[in-house]
Symmetry: C2
Subunit: 114 residues, 2 copies
Amino acid sequence: MERNAITLSASETRLAAMLKALGNPVRFRIMKYLASRQVCITGDVVEFTALAQSTVSQHLKVLRQAGLIEGEVEGPATCYCVSAEGLRFLKTQIEAWLPDCCEPIEPASPDGCC
Amino acid sequence: MERNAITLSASETRLAAMLKALGNPVRFRIMKYLASRQVCITGDVVEFTALAQSTVSQHLKVLRQAGLIEGEVEGPATCYCVSAEGLRFLKTQIEAWLPDCCEPIEPASPDGCC
DNA sequence: TCATTTTATCGTAAATTTACGATATAGGAA
DNA sequence: TTCCTATATCGTAAATTTACGATAAAATGA
């Protein structure tokens, strides 16, 4: 895809991966679903999304690899939940990203641009 | 792709679009580049990214449609800058998204999961 | 042991994304 | 008007993503 690999710091790379993972509407919803259930869930995500089990498993893998959720084998099933550390990272990074570059300094500007 | 369209609210849809746009490392970098230059920029994004002009134009379009940047025709060129409103929205949404579901309530839990 | 349950992984087809060159479009200068 | 500059858009090829069914793998219960 990319001829010259774009250089990003480790933090930026992780943040971009998180954003990419959450940019998919299915994963976005899964994430909210997991958050709404404090409790860990497994395969009723399948029921929730009405997608094939293998598809859901794949989405969960993406979220897990992005560090947004955590999975733990619980008997025959796997128990997932939101990663507290991951979400803290996400929020912190977004918060600190463009600190106050975008506050409307001059309200005179109609659209804040140019 | 999706057989059953995933239902998201308008805000969620916009947020997901923003996350998706920023999930691409090239666009991620362009965004930071635009932010570092308070001033509006046009085609030196091309020089910055070392990608084809048409490719950059496409990326800028995605960022613009996501409401993350604003473009304004300035003579023969187009002047881009970060959208203050867009970034405010992004930050607010992320902040409010999972308010305090993920604070480590019980430090006893080794990984905060299950 | 043997079936059952729950997930993960594999292989694959369709859709989407990304990048490029070529081509239009629009504004400014000569 | 005519040329030059700066972008946007079109068409297209390669890569990636997404979804599915089929198949493994792992733990529990009969």
